[in-house]
């Protein structure tokens, strides 16, 4: 379960944001909708523990991320949070399967190639295990990025503008995939976007 309280963030020499309190239990989906400049990315980074709030708290799985030290936060994020970024990026020197087991290794879990391959197969990418990431199509890259976010069985799956660059059909496909995979993993799904097309798709939403 993810919960925020009086979340406030101020950039050293820039804007400040106050965010509404929000709550998302396991298995639930939450849409965070906002136009540019409303602090969407800032919020996502606060939820992921990539930024520390100026005041207020972020609590995930009973632990207050906002109070952890740097190293503890990195590890906690690796183990409990999967992030899908707007465009898919990979460690270029590693192939698909190595990119997939990377979160396992980096978050201090035991490397389980079998589990990673199972996820790839679930996303119809079983034949791309040994491929290089730059040999994949954009759609395949997006799916591998989703697979990577799922590989540690996260409590929360955070997606940053996953559909903004896609047409209606593909946008719909990606959203269903995210929902489906989050449900399979038992993770809460939080999508941060300005994409109004998604508004009707989610029951629970917070507008910034």
């Amino acid at each position: 379960m993810l919960e925020t309280n009086n979340l406030y963030f101020e950039y050293a020499d820039g804007p400040s944001f106050t965010f509404p309190d929000m709550k998302c239990v396991s298995g639930e989906s939450l849409l965070l909708l906002g136009d540019s400049g409303k602090g969407k990315t800032t919020l996502l980074h606060l939820l992921a523990g990539l930024l520390s709030p100026t005041s207020g708290t972020v609590t995930l799985a009973g632990q207050e991320i906002s109070r952890m030290g740097q190293q503890e936060r990195d590890r906690f994020r690796g183990q409990h949070i999967g992030i899908v970024f707007q465009s898919a990026h990979f460690v270029q020197s590693l192939n698909v399967i190595d990119n997939l087991v990377l979160p396992q290794y980096l978050s201090g879990r035991t490397v389980d190639k079998g589990a990673a391959i199972a996820i790839l197969e679930r996303l119809n990418l079983g034949h791309k295990v040994k491929a290089h990431t730059n040999q994949l199509s954009i759609g395949e890259q997006q799916r591998v990025a989703i697979a990577r976010a799922l590989v540690n069985n996260p409590d929360v799956l955070l997606a940053d503008e996953p559909t903004s660059a896609l047409d209606d059909r593909n946008a719909h496909e990606v959203i269903s995939l995210l929902e489906e995979q989050a449900a399979l993993t038992g993770a809460s799904l939080i999508i941060v976007t300005h994409d109004q097309r998604l508004k009707d798709h989610f029951e629970k939403r917070v507008t910034l």
Binding site: F85, Y105, L106, G108
Partner: protein, 399 residues
């Protein structure tokens, strides 16, 4: 999956950058290592011939020349000394072994050395064929002399006066070869050994003796030098005083050879300076290559942080990339220097021999490897620090 492997993949992913750093590193390390190998090889060659000889007794002159002439047989002797006076030193209680040498003749530029059986025994050279000499004008020849001149046991030859000249041949006394030494890597390989009496007799020309000439020293009264080993360290102090008033001097091979290698050193130092310059450039190249690739991979590194990597992990990863570069570069460099030695020794077969069984790492090379890897890791320190300092949220947000 571990950091070593990720670091390895990262440098392998940039083959051109990596190759440039590796080539520079390999050449720097290779040249220095080649110099070290040459030095140690020459040192060994020198040492093999010094072989426990503590002092050389000979005529006054350049002590270095005395050593070169009588230990290495590559320079003209400083002159002759009186046998009677030399005997006083040879019989001194502080002296253990005394090997007299008499020469002045050659056969086709191979030096003919009059000595005793103690000489080949000292160098532990065994006779491969035939036997050691017994009587005057019998000769046992070195392995190289035999191989190059094609002389066999039973062959005879005339000696020529001087050390290289072949014009003034002593036609009245023929030498007979009675044995050939086994190859030993010492000077004996290129010498013709015979009893001292042969040398004396060659130079006795009774029919030419002029009744009116002042009675000079007869040949048998003179020898060229004596190789000495000491029984008591005090010999180094006592013997020079003993011969103070004669025309003799004592030279210490170890000191003279040290002086010689120090003179060599200037050329070596220049090369070493160039090699160090190449290494500095290679370290800069490692630094630039890592720094650039770090900047290019900024997003990648931020991504790794988002997946749970700590700052320390990224720091170590980039240091490991520098580590890999220097380790591989150093390894290639060490291989290159050995290849260079093998080529050198095959090109200069006669003057220089490289013992391939000594291909292992020299103690000085261990230091070289240690310093190289240390500096290589140091060169990756700044890129690593900037990886630690990066603002993950900003990088991920800007993309």
């Amino acid at each position: 999956m571990n950091l070593f492997r990720i670091a390895w993949r990262n440098i392998a992913h940039k083959p051109l950058n990596t190759a440039l750093s590796l080539i520079l590193l390999a050449f720097g390390v290779g040249i220095i290592s080649l110099l070290l190998l040459l030095e140690s090889s020459l040192q060994k060659e020198f040492d093999r011939n010094i072989k426990d000889i503590d002092m050389v007794l000979g005529a006054k002159g350049s002590p270095l020349q005395l050593i070169l002439a009588n230990v290495y047989h590559i320079d003209a002797p400083t002159g002759n000394i009186s046998r009677a006076e030399a005997q006083r030193v040879m019989k001194h209680p502080y002296i253990d072994k005394a090997i007299p040498l008499a020469y002045g003749d050659n056969y086709r530029s191979y030096r003919i050395v009059g000595t005793t059986h103690a000489y080949p025994e000292h160098y532990e050279v065994s006779v491969q064929e035939g036997r050691l000499w017994d009587v005057p004008f019998e000769a046992t020849i070195g392995s190289k002399v035999a191989a190059e001149s094609g002389m066999k046991i039973g062959d005879t030859f005339y000696s020529a006066h001087g050390l290289e000249d072949e014009t003034d041949i002593h036609k009245d006394h023929a030498f007979t070869i009675v044995g050939i030494f086994a190859e030993s890597g010492s000077v004996i390989d290129q010498l013709i050994l015979t009893p001292m009496e042969s040398i004396w007799n060659v130079h006795e020309h009774p029919e030419e003796m002029d009744e009116e000439a002042p009675p000079g020293p007869r040949p048998e009264d003179e020898i060229t030098a004596v190789l000495l080993t000491k029984k008591n360290p005090l010999a180094l102090v006592m013997i020079p005083t003993l011969i103070k008033d004669t025309n003799m001097q004592i030279a210490l091979p170890s000191i003279e050879i040290n002086r010689l290698t120090q003179n060599f050193g200037i050329g070596m130092q220049t090369l070493q300076g160039i090699a160090i310059l190449i290494m500095i450039i290679s370290f800069i190249s490692v630094f630039i290559s890592l720094y650039n690739s770090m900047k290019e991979r900024k997003y990648e590194l931020a991504l790794m942080r988002s997946m749970g990597a700590s700052r320390q992990t990224l720091f170590v990863m980039i240091l490991l990339e520098g580590f890999w570069l220097t380790v591989v570069g150093t390894f290639i460099g060490l291989c290159l220097s050995r290849l260079g030695m093998i080529i050198l020794s095959s090109v200069m077969k006669d003057q220089f021999k490289y013992d391939i069984s000594n291909i292992g790492i020299l103690p000085h090379e261990t230091i070289l490897v240690g310093i190289t890897i240390f500096v290589g890791v140091l060169a990756s320190l700044l890129p690593a620090v900037s990886a630690v300092r990066m603002d993950v949220s900003k990088i991920l947000g800007d993309a």
